[in-house]
Symmetry: C2
Subunit: 349 residues, 2 copies
């Protein structure tokens, strides 16, 4: 997996002096985008680039490649900078777009009903999450406390991850047809929708997930432009991305994004179909990416069948849910193009 | 109902030349807050004031009163300015804090079960809404389209309002105890959580309301500081506020905020109890304010018992749901202190 001229993902990075600048990654180095356009990147963020739209996305990418290949500007070693969240998150929506994940969740929680709710294949199901707790990879994830059931308050005993792919909107719009999604969506990254299953289960009827999700949502800082994935589309707007989830270094799942039922373009079309506009910096997640086989399921809810079937790790230990100190890393690639990783470690309250 | 020295609500206003400035309202006039502190209000918004905290809230209020009473600065006629949304909305959460409303909703949707879900009296139930579609009073509300049921797409045929009181956070924090809420919450305003009941009903299981709510949330621009309501507290953080809802000028309901089960301080304590921080500009709504009697119910879902009992208006017409052209106005007062109004008219797609 590489970070070559063909992908050039974007982030903001902070150097040892605390200076923040917008950058593209090339191998184990980064290019300060002020060398491409000082004005567009004056804020040190990607906000202005996102808003600037597809023509700017195209020439910035092309000019950055030219600058790198010319060798005219020294690159900065990746090891000398820390990547941070590169843009201002506006609204954050999380979907539920994997049929395999939704089916497993239905079988677990409603074993006597049809596993998929009647709406599921007619519209993409989703809900709004908390923008203010979207954090960059590496941020410690503090175990939340809450009501775990009737009269039962305390730290969550059912901490889970959810491996997702997320998309960031650049160009505002509303009622965006599927075919126009690429004119609005700048790029994609990886997202871990941390979930406290006990808090979520107690609160969720009738208004959906709230505190069981809102404590933290981790994202990979490097954003891969959609344009870098032109060779990796399947069935229209489907994307051929392979994910990998590791707990404490042990790979526990390999979900495939090509197995999703709803595409990123369908999710955006639905989100804006009622007339609601999207803004620059809006983020939407795919929901847990799960495939048909157990080795492709994207969360512990599925992998341990709601805690009833412990999962063995390579060191001989087992997990039903995440323990304090556990680190979850989600990585992904499209062919030889690396989409980076999102990491987070559970810390006690 | 007055706008006197004792309330002095805040907004941003735009004058005939398009100049935007932060202001307090006094009777039928406004004071440009640049006369109180040019630096704090340089942006023309209330953002810096909100973040500045309780000491600043106190001296700005006091100095504004002094300037107004001294007559040293000419006020601007209210008729010459348009109030707009005065601050940047960060995250928006909507609660469900009226026992009467939740009980009615339970009786309507789950007639054979206990009306309140088991969690309802243990924790305040809430969910995240869409920040990007919070709009100021007077903005037309376009009837949304969506899936109204299996295979049934089209404009919503069940448009409703929800009369709410909302709170804006000034000072960031997390795990905020009930007793500290007044150190974080700047003030309150009125909110109409427009709802497309058919779209909401079809999408809501299992992740809660989404497109049935996200098309528009209207708010009153004038924010009353909590400090103005010190004489109107009941049972600790309960607030003695009388609301009034009118459709096309006909009052259809008079909900009382004192009838709410959860207080604004309990809602904030819950929202932050899992460790999630609040930011300057975070908004949370109470949920529909309903009282025990039919004349105190805060939405058409209750007033027409889910469309089965039409509501007569003064002009001889009846409504089950809102029609194109209908205007809903929500007004409120605490004793003689006016809390302003939020208005919106339904327009066809």
């Amino acid at each position: 997996m590489t970070y070559g001229i063909e992908n050039l993902p974007y982030a903001s990075v902070v150097d040892a002096d605390g200076r923040r600048f917008a950058a593209v990654r090339y191998g184990d180095a980064v290019l300060d985008l002020a060398h491409v356009d000082a004005g567009l990147f004056a804020s040190g963020t990607l906000d202005a680039l996102l808003a600037a739209g597809p023509d700017a996305w195209s020439w910035v990418r092309s000019d950055a490649a030219t600058v790198i290949e010319s060798g005219s500007v020294p690159l900065v070693a990746l090891a000398d900078v820390t990547p941070v969240l590169g843009f201002t998150v506006a609204d954050y929506v999380d979907f539920y777009a994997s049929e395999h994940h939704a089916t497993n969740a239905g079988r677990i929680f409603r074993p006597n009903d049809e596993p998929l709710p009647p709406n599921w294949k007619q519209i993409p199901i989703g809900y709004h999450g908390r923008s203010g707790t979207v954090v960059a990879s590496g941020t410690p994830v503090v175990r939340p406390s809450g009501m775990r059931g009737p009269g039962d308050a305390g730290p969550s005993a059912r901490m889970d991850f959810e491996a997702e792919v997320a998309f960031v909107v650049g160009v505002p719009g509303s009622r965006i047809p599927e075919g126009d999604a690429h004119q609005h969506v700048f790029g994609l990254f990886l997202l871990n929708d941390w979930s406290a299953r006990d808090i979520q289960a107690f609160e969720t009827v009738p208004l959906g997930p709230f505190l069981g999700k809102s404590f933290a949502t981790s994202v990979s800082p490097w954003i891969t432009p959609l344009a870098a994935l032109n060779a990796h589309h399947v069935d229209g707007a489907g994307l051929d991305i392979d994910l990998e989830v590791a707990i404490n270094g042990e790979v526990v799942s390999r979900p495939r994004f090509a197995d999703m039922y709803w595409t990123y373009a369908q999710l955006l079309a639905h989100l804006t179909s009622n007339g609601a506009p999207v803004r620059t910096g809006d983020v939407y997640g795919s929901g847990t990416v799960s495939g048909p086989d157990r080795g492709q399921w994207g969360c512990l809810l599925e992998l341990t069948w709601n805690g009833t079937e412990p999962l063995g790790l390579g060191d001989g230990s087992v997990r039903t849910w995440l323990e304090d100190g556990d680190e979850v890393v989600i990585r992904a690639a499209a062919g030889s193009i690396s989409l980076g990783e999102v990491a987070g470690r559970i810390t006690p309250e």
